[in-house]
């Protein structure tokens, strides 16, 4: 119904409608004329590579050296390749937007879109030796592939993405006198094969077969030879063009013929492409580009003609064909159903009514309601269609009015789910940004959804459109930190001012919304780019110290590496660093470094304690840690059982470490050991087999007492300043163990005991001599008597003593014991005493 908007771009190929519309005019540089050029365009609005076509006679401007220039779709120059290799046969774009150039000797060079060489390899020796005639770059399920045809008419296939560099040889072409005139590569499932046109026949070279199969008699009309063939974007359809202007359209297996169409033209077309449908994966029409006009033909043989200035290049897309000329950049598309429903003349669809209603509503016309009443029950469909149609529009004004219509319409739907509406708004905003000539990636919504936002972001980042990439990421709620990281890489690679770069990067990274960004990754890049100073600056910014370590090691900043490792608190990391740098450094330098980090030093000591004791000694030495040196010698001496000879060294070290008592004890021990030898000699003769070796001072005295050598014992006691207390203990223990009770008593009475008399009781009890024990208990302090009576199990006495001391607690204890013994008499006594004591309180 509405007669308006962009229907002027529409044309009909019965029964369907197509449209051809402008994207934006490219602004090619003045010195570029596509007419003399061979052009390779990447799909999905990708870059365009242009080089002089050697087969055309050209007025030479500037240098005669071949140059490949790369532009974006808006004509902005992205890069330039000075071609100084051999003869360039063919070029094309991979699915990752890399330019693939194939040279006569089958060498392949790969560039990024800025003209930086990325890699090069050879298709194969045979192809290289025989030279190649032509090459095709094709897309398959396994990525981009390259096919070359040698001068011997052999075809080799090679996938660029696959790791193995082997190429596959297709079967031989059946022998004939004439050469092939055209060829294409077709991918079917996982296989790629080659179709060749020769004379009146088509030859299919399928891998694995020994020889190609020939298909004849495709045409009804007479002709001499097939001169051009074209495979559709989805590899389902095939178009053949003959020398006398007849087009054959059919399925790829050539079993089905859609139509045969006589263009009636004698001039040779430059390019044929299939126009893929927008709504489904089908194709119903082809575009044929002649030097100065364009012919669109559909399966039914209906056609349309457009005239152009010379030089037309077609780019097949998944949902249409782009047309690139010197002055324009257009797209041919089958009209999406929803767009047609809304805008077609005399459309009776609800969406069309809705659109009209909305317009009337804006004009404040009552007719709005009349329109609405026509389709109220199908409002859902109408709104959905408007939203969908907006996606297909390139014109922002149309998008707006369609979205406005949808907005208007959804108001009439109770509980409308706005998800799709919102998603479309978001997507459109991104698409419009991408289609802006500054960005120059004119994607359709179908392409956008197929590529996925992540890939599109990656492409934006690669084109260095960081700002817009971040905005897009934010808008689509995708992670954005990696974009910043890329931006930082770019800065690192291109900005020569270290301080400036570091400053800019920190400024950007300070933003708290940016999470999980790693300064280390960027520093790593800086290092790879040979900018170590910058790398270190960047590393300093990394808050996670543990991440700094590997790169610091790589940079040779050992001191910093140790520092960072210790700061991280991770001992394992410290150990790794230590092992690593020890290999690379002079030992003295190494010691110097680790001395400053006590934790590292400790870990090193611990490692060396297991690996190399001498290294341990070295480190103690550099530290002047004499106490540790002493202990080091000490341990070694103990292990090698050579304590005696080492004691003076040990004592020395202790003295140096100001450990006087330890030093003194060492010299004492040394003295003791000498003495023990003399004792050995002296007493072995008397008592036979006795040895003092290895005994402590205390034990030596004990042994001497045991032997009855009291004088000698006393001498040692004095020499080594053994306290009286311990000496007395030794005496009484010795006497009691030999049951010399008289002597013990004599000893007790010899002078006032420095240890009191409780030990006497204890030793008697130990030998179960109650009589003797009793004697000494009497000599004990009153408050201890009860305790010893109890221990002697002399409960009667204990009770009395406790009563005397008014020690009610002890009485309870005895009561318990008496209970277990069942001594009634005693119990009674205790109870009386307890009663007496508690009453007195």
């Amino acid at each position: 119904m509405p007669i308006m908007y962009n229907t002027g771009d529409w044309f009909v190929l019965r029964p369907t409608t197509y449209r051809k519309f402008d994207l934006y005019p490219p602004e090619w540089p003045l010195d570029l004329d596509l007419e003399y050029m061979s052009v390779a365009c990447a799909p999905y609005g990708g870059p365009v590579a242009v080089t002089r076509d050697p087969n055309k006679i050209v007025p030479v401007k500037g240098t005669a050296k071949p140059v490949i220039r790369i532009f974006d779709t808006a004509g902005q120059e992205l890069g330039k390749i000075w071609w100084n290799h051999g003869r360039l046969i063919s070029m094309g774009w991979s699915d990752t937007e890399e330019l693939i150039c194939v040279q006569e000797d089958a060498l392949v060079f790969i560039y990024d879109m800025f003209g930086n060489e990325k890699e090069s390899y050879c298709i194969g020796q045979e192809a290289s030796e025989t030279k190649i005639l032509d090459a095709k770059i094709f897309q398959s399920s396994a990525g981009t592939g390259i096919a070359v045809m040698t001068t011997k008419h052999r075809v080799f296939l090679k996938h660029t993405s696959s790791k193995d560099f082997r190429s596959r040889l297709l079967p031989e072409i059946p022998k004939s006198l004439t050469d092939c005139t055209c060829w294409e590569i077709v991918t079917e499932d996982r296989n790629s094969y080659c179709l060749l046109g020769r004379e009146r026949e088509v030859i299919k070279l399928f891998p694995g077969e020994s020889v190609g199969s020939v298909i004849r008699n495709l045409f009804d009309k007479p002709f001499e030879r097939i001169i051009l063939m074209s495979v559709s974007y989805n590899h389902q359809n095939l178009a053949l063009y003959t020398n006398n202007g007849i087009v054959w359209m059919g399925s790829i297996d050539m079993k089905q013929k859609y139509c045969e169409f006589d263009t009636g033209r004698k001039d040779i077309p430059k390019q044929i492409e299939w126009i893929m449908n927008v709504d489904n994966d089908q194709s119903e029409a082809i575009v044929i580009a002649y030097p100065s006009f364009l012919l669109v033909v559909n399966r039914n043989g209906d056609k349309n003609l457009f005239t152009y200035d010379p030089a037309i290049f077609l780019v097949a897309e998944m949902d249409g064909v782009r047309i690139l000329t010197n002055t324009s950049h257009e797209m041919i598309q089958k009209l999406p159903k929803c767009v047609q429903n809304i805008f077609a003349i005399n459309s009776q669809e609800p969406s069309s009514f809705l659109f009209e209603a909305q317009k009337k509503y804006q004009d404040k016309s009552h007719q709005a309601d009349e329109y609405l009443s026509l389709f109220r029950d199908r409002m859902n469909v109408a709104v959905d269609e408007c939203i969908e149609a907006a996606g297909y529009e390139f014109c922002t004004a149309t998008q707006k009015s369609l979205m406005r219509t949808a907005y208007f319409g959804k108001g009439f739907i109770p509980a409308h789910n706005p998800d799709e509406y919102i998603r479309m708004l978001r997507t459109l905003r991104v698409l419009n940004a991408l289609r802006h000539p500054r960005i120059a990636v004119p994607l359709t919504i179908k392409q956008f959804l197929y590529l996925k936002p992540e890939i599109i972001l990656a492409r934006l980042v690669f084109r260095k459109h960081y700002a817009i990439a971040i905005q897009v990421a934010k808008h689509l709620k995708l992670p954005e930190s990696w974009i910043l990281e890329h931006w930082a890489y770019h800065k690192v690679m291109n900005d020569r001012n270290d301080i400036e770069v570091a400053r800019k990067i920190t400024e950007k990274f300070k933003n708290p919304s940016v999470e999980g960004i790693s300064f280390c990754n960027i520093a790593e890049k800086a290092h790879a780019a040979g900018r170590d100073e910058l790398a270190i600056k960047l590393l300093e910014l990394e808050p996670r110290t543990s991440l700094q370590v590997p790169l610091l090691l790589k940079l040779g900043k050992y001191n910093r590496a140790v520092q960072s490792a210790t700061q991280s608190g991770d001992t394992e990391l410290v150990a790794t660093v230590l092992l690593e740098i020890k290999k690379k450094m002079m030992l003295t330098n190494f010691h110097m470094i680790i001395r400053e980090y006590p934790m590292a030093l400790n870990i090193y000591k611990k490692i060396m304690n297991e690996w190399s004791r001498t290294a341990l000694y070295d480190i103690y030495n550099t530290e002047d840690d004499h106490k540790s040196i002493a202990e080091y010698h000490f341990r070694n001496a103990l292990e090698s059982k050579s304590l005696e000879s080492n004691l003076s060294t040990i004592a020395n070290s202790y003295t140096q470490g100001r450990r006087n008592i330890e030093a003194e004890l060492c010299s004492d021990t040394s003295k003791l050991m000498k003495l023990q030898k003399t004792l050995n000699n002296k007493y072995s003769s008397i008592y036979g087999n006795v040895t003092f070796l290895g005994l402590s001072i205390h034990e030596t005295i004990e042994k001497l007492l045991d032997l009855g050598e009291f004088k000698e014992a006393e001498k040692i006691k004095n020499d080594f300043k053994v306290p009286d207390r311990r000496f007395w203990w030794l005496r009484i223990l010795n006497l009691s163990s030999k049951y010399k009770w008289d002597e013990l008593e004599k000893f007790a009475k010899s002078k006032k005991s420095p240890i009191g008399y409780e030990p006497f009781v204890e030793v008697c009890l130990k030998q179960n001599n109650l009589t003797e024990a009793r004697k000494y208990i009497l000599k004990c302090r009153d408050d201890r008597k009860t305790h010893w009576y109890i221990r002697a199990e002399l409960y009667e006495e204990a009770v009395d003593a406790a009563f005397e001391q008014r020690d009610i607690n002890s009485l309870y204890v005895i009561q318990q014991k008496a209970n277990t013994l069942g001594n009634r008499q005693l119990l009674d006594k205790i109870i009386t005493y307890i009663a007496m004591l508690s009453s007195k309180k």
Binding site: G516, G569, K605, S696, I697
Partner: protein
Amino acid sequence: MFSYLQSQRRVNLQLLQESSCQQLELLLDKLEGTKAIILDDVLLGPLGLVAPPSLFSERGIKLLKLEKETRMPKDYVNIIYLVRPLVSIMDDIAGQVLKNSDKNRVFHLFFVPRRSCLCEKHLEQKGVYGSFGMVEELSWNFYPIENDVISMENPMAFKDVAIDGDPTALYQAAVGLVQLQRIYGRIPKIYGKGTMAQGVWERAKKLGAEEKLLSTGERGTIDQIILLDRQIDLLSAFATQLTYEGLIDEFYGVKQNKLTLPAELFAKSNERDGSPAHMTSEKKVILLNSGETLYPELRNKNFNEIGKILSRSAKDISAAMNASSQENSVQEMKRLVDKLPALLAQKQSVANHTTIAENIRKQLDAFEFTDDLAAEQEFMMCEDIDKPSGYIEDLMAKKADLKKVLRLICIQCAAASGFKEKVLTYYKRELVHVYGIEVLLKISNLEKAGVLYTQSESRAYAVLRKTLNLTVDEVIEVNPKDISYVHSFYAPLIARIVEQSLKPLGWQSLKSQINNLPGPTFEDFQAQLIGIGGRHSSTPSEGSSLNIPRVVLVFFVGGCTFAEIAALRFLAQDEDNNVEFVIATTKIINKNSFLESLLQ
């Protein structure tokens, strides 16, 4: 298998067990073909704390002990070494791998809790590193040993840090804390005291900052963590514990909830089987955890209360048995039959514990024990701590066990907050005179560990004993009112600190009081998260008004005793405190094991 971990508590430690177990399962299931695990002996106990035996039996995995000459099982495709990252172990492994390499056999190496470059280097040097298929780590840092206790099972933690200056244990603890927060949510409040404690927290904070997961979940279940250093309270570590569980540990040693006793102790009482105790050739193994019938009631009680509880339970059982024998209606019979297994288990339990208690009682009554305890308690009361102790001198003169002497010296030193130079010198000389010059190395270790030292200006213990009531005058061991019952009259300092911190503004008022203890006092705060599902706010007042107990994680860095655990459980039972504790430790220690770890 892990029924003892189930409880109505807010923090369900079974989750920890499950997550640890899952790690192992994931690794095991990556390997195809038959598997045999060769296990580091020390890991046997900890493994049992996270992985049920069914995990291995279901998969047909054979478990073997790692020995110098482990016989390689035939017909197993995958040989997995499950070991600690120790270089000495690597030597054994390298030897076995060299001897047994075979086309049809793949070796794997799982480190617990972390892989180590030292070990890997060592294997490289031995030329066997290439023989390993998978080299992985099982990041098991905390093992749940009770429904309120997690342990790192690292007995050397204190020694490594204090003596060798090797903070690996602190790092592992930090990793463990991050893992806990991953399961139970971020802990908003942090208090701590001591250098090691701070070391743990600083590392945990750094690691946690890198952890994205922690910042996304909703509010966690743990409200607060208190990290306390063993260093601030060495006295309690060396003190004799007087709780039932503490005494069992000191006399017999409890290993990962298992108590192994010589079977002859049970010669008489061992009549019935089907109890949680298994007989092995000469040993009887008893599982001691809250899954046992009587143990949860007994474990935290002062030993002097144990007799009563046991006799009461014995009476209960016989009453239950008798009551049923009189009433003979069918329903009664049925009820009896239903109850019978539980009753029998209870009976067995009473029998076991009576045997254990009798044996402990015998040892407690020995004069040797009471004399030691008396000396120890005098030190706690700060009596005669500034001069060489007569009792210790006598012990040395009698050439008593060196460890016993050293322990008492350590207690004296802790109580005196450091010896006078003269006293320390005197002890050193005496020790060398009696026990020989080698003892110097042991003393040196104790000095490095900060256990033996010369006096500083402040007498922290003497002051705190007063201000924090570390010793109480009235000894109440049965139905106690105060945590001091765990050592009869002495309250372990760390438990007291925790108790104080529970009060309103507790930590603030504590700060000045514990300032004299070694190491920094610190507190920290982790941003609360805007979780919609978040629970109540964590301020104590609001918490208690809602009557949901606060959950406090108390981390003993350097080990804790059963007595200290008992003290904390006692605090948690007090409803006024309205608190639930999760107790974390590097290892459960007692006076003997702690000293031994330092002397090595």
